[in-house]
């Protein structure tokens, strides 16, 4: 579902390598957790995957479509939520959702069902007539999530999706992610909450200084030492 090969991105005319020869493969039906210390290159990688940044080198394909060759086709298959979204403050929640549904060409019937299902799940139905300006941080996060999932994309790419969500919404989102993957789709998300990654993810990748330093299932990461927690593994691997 997601194929990344030899992905490289540098800043300051090549002096700082934010992502350095990253190669990874996420299969259908998989929840993939993307971990790493601050500034390791998680967000840069994600932004390249959704077309916000242009890679210096390497290729990305989403649902079998190369993002460089056919950006619009690839984007149609992505549902993306950034870590700290700036959205149209002066639209109402409903106007924003309709806008997203229009640009992703969601048919009327499906749109109605998805909107009411997602709003209900995130408990946003009462607020959807208000300007987004008046929303709290968590509500903004939820309206962006709703907008990103309206077109039922095969691949969800979420940057720190639990941050700002209340426990109930966070729980529902995790269930929703599982359900989505059980239908043969893919979720790729970054997080700092290691417990969530440990419990939820089928596979985990750890990035440090732009390089993928570990990838695998929890068992594979433990190398047979069943008592080892993800926290210990993470700290060992990312130690300078």
């Amino acid at each position: 579902m997601i194929e990344i090969s030899n992905l490289t991105k540098s800043y300051n005319k090549g002096r700082i390598k934010a992502v350095d020869g990253l190669t990874l493969h996420v299969k259908p039906g998989e929840i993939f957790g993307f971990l790493g210390p601050n500034g390791a290159g998680k967000t840069t990688t994600i932004k390249m995957m959704v077309g916000l940044l242009t890679p210096d080198n390497g290729s990305i394909s989403i649902a079998g479509i190369d993002i460089k060759e056919n950006p619009l086709g690839a984007k149609q298959n992505i549902g993306y939520v950034p870590d700290n979204p700036d959205i149209y403050d002066r639209l109402t929640g409903m106007e924003y959702l309709n806008f997203m549904a229009d640009v992703y060409k969601v048919p009327a019937k499906e749109r109605k069902e998805r909107i009411s299902y997602l709003l209900d799940m995130f408990n946003l139905t009462d607020a959807v007539g208000d300007l987004i300006k008046s929303y709290s941080h968590g509500m903004k996060q939820k309206i962006v999530l709703t907008g990103a999932l309206l077109h039922n994309p095969a691949v969800w790419i979420l940057d720190e999706p639990m941050v700002g969500l209340d426990p109930k919404s966070s729980h529902l989102l995790k269930e929703f992610m599982r359900k989505h993957c059980d239908q043969g789709n893919t979720v790729f998300f970054s997080t700092h909450v290691l417990e969530v990654a440990e419990k939820l993810c089928d596979r985990i990748g750890i990035i440090n200084k732009g390089k993928l330093i570990a990838i695998g299932t929890m068992d594979e990461l433990r190398h047979g030492d069943q008592a080892d927690s993800l926290e210990n593994i993470f700290l060992e691997l990312t130690e300078v």
């Binding site: 932004k47 959704v50 077309g51 916000l52 940044l53 242009t54 950006p71 619009l72 086709g73 984007k75 149609q76 992505i78 993306y80 950034p82 979204p85 700036d86 959205i87 149209y88 002066r90 639209l91 409903m94 106007e95 959702l97 309709n98 806008f99 997203m100 549904a101 229009d102 640009v103 992703y104 060409k105 048919p107 009327a108 749109r111 109605k112 909107i115 009411s116 139905t125 009462d126 607020a127 959807v128 007539g129 208000d130 008046s134």
Partner: protein, 558 residues
Amino acid sequence: MRTFMSLLKTNINVYFGISALKYRFTKEKKRLWEPIFILLSIIIGGGSLLILYSLLLLGIFMGGQAISHPEIVLTFAFMATQLLILVFGIFYIMSVFYFSNDMNILIPLPLRPAEVLGVKFIIILIGEYLIALPMLLPAFIIYGIGTWSNIFYWLKGIILVLMAPILPLVIASVFVILLMRFINIRKSKDLMVVLGSLLGLFLGLGVNFLTQNIPEGNEKEFFVNLIESNRGLIEAIGNKFPPSVWATLGLTSPGLQGLGYFVLFVGLSLLLLAVLLWMGNAFFYKGYIAGQEVQRRAKAISAEDMERRSSKVDSPVVALFKREWKLFMRTPIYLMNGIAGMIIAPFLMIMPFITQAEEMSEVVRLAKEPKYAPIAALISLGIMLFASSMNLIASTSISREGGTFWISKLIPVSPKDQVLAKLIHSSCLSLIALILMAVPLYFLLDISLYRLIIITFIGFLANVLINILGLIIDLLRPKLEWNDPQEAIKQNLNAFLAMLAVLLLMTILGGISVLLILKGISEFWIYGILTLIIVILSIPSFYGLLILANKKYNSLEV
């Protein structure tokens, strides 16, 4: 004191973007010609305004001398400056004191409210010098040289000029702080922007009205008359707001009396400043915190309403157009800057017909003559084109997206469709502006309907071309990094560059029209040739825009 100085230094740095500027030019190595270009255009633009203003002051000075009251020029300058600062200071203070983002950081710091208030006050003061110095210095210099004043005049004058904004700013601050303490005005921040802009608009109209009334040839007599007839007014304002008179008396009265007024002015300024700081401790944070309570409707949408709202399906281009339209209409600063010109232009055009009815009736008579009707129509086209295109709607439409540009990059809509929606949006507004101009022209100049339709059509085509050029300019160098929407348009060179492009295009079209008229080419051929030129220019521009959009929407990183 050390914390205060450090707070002041940091705030000046943040507010005037000093570190950000340094970073841009040393680390990011951005184009250095931009600020130089901006500075140059400000010097040229501001300089010419300053010369006009100085001539007005010179007129007042000489008029005053004729009735042996040369100091009237000082009273006028001090009064005008202080009144202007008082009125506009209220909006400036509101935004810096209460609407700026840094309050959330400052309130939790172990600082006294008076310190924060003092720092913000100094920042506003620095900003106001940009208005006060150009307004006061010419009057100060004209009087000083004109009356051969001594060294004490110049010394006292420099202090008074520097202190002049303090008094009105303190009064405005006290007013704002009290207002904020008792009224939750934060809710109506948008209303404030509209009120401020309207005030500016009316002031502009007023000045225009005044200058149109200055008869040519006998300016001196006019100024003497103006002063004679307005002395009562100046004195009346002076009575209500004596400090501006004290400043004049402090400068022009001889000996101890002058010194007394000087001390009075300076003393009162400092005293009131102290009162303000004391008030700051008592009221400043309370008002801010009270204003923080956000109000939300939280009215649930009924099931049917939900059904209705979510069942309307639009094509992506229409959806993008609607987004563009709503965001533009709902952001007061965009609305005021984008369409104020459109609304003010018809008024400016009607005004001479009221103030100079006699001369204009001659113009109307000529315009109606069959011989001159084509020329009148072409001139009308020029006026309509100018009024409808001197805006920044297209030339800031990428910049206005700012931090939300990621959405445009994310959605599966081709860059071609995205700029097309923007072109439709700006051209719709252009069409409205054209019609707003066409209607008064129809009634005032009695242009025949078919001519009006033709020139409106040509004007619309030209506007489409201008909007394409504006979009190209904004795509080439969009300003996406901003915190406040007004930075996207007011501190955006693209709007200025696009206006230059408009002037260039109008010069070309105007030149060709004059040439064709002189050659005796018939009216309809001229319309045809103009249309052809615009279309010929538009086609490659449009394709250039699409190619550029494709390139830039991919390469711009957010």
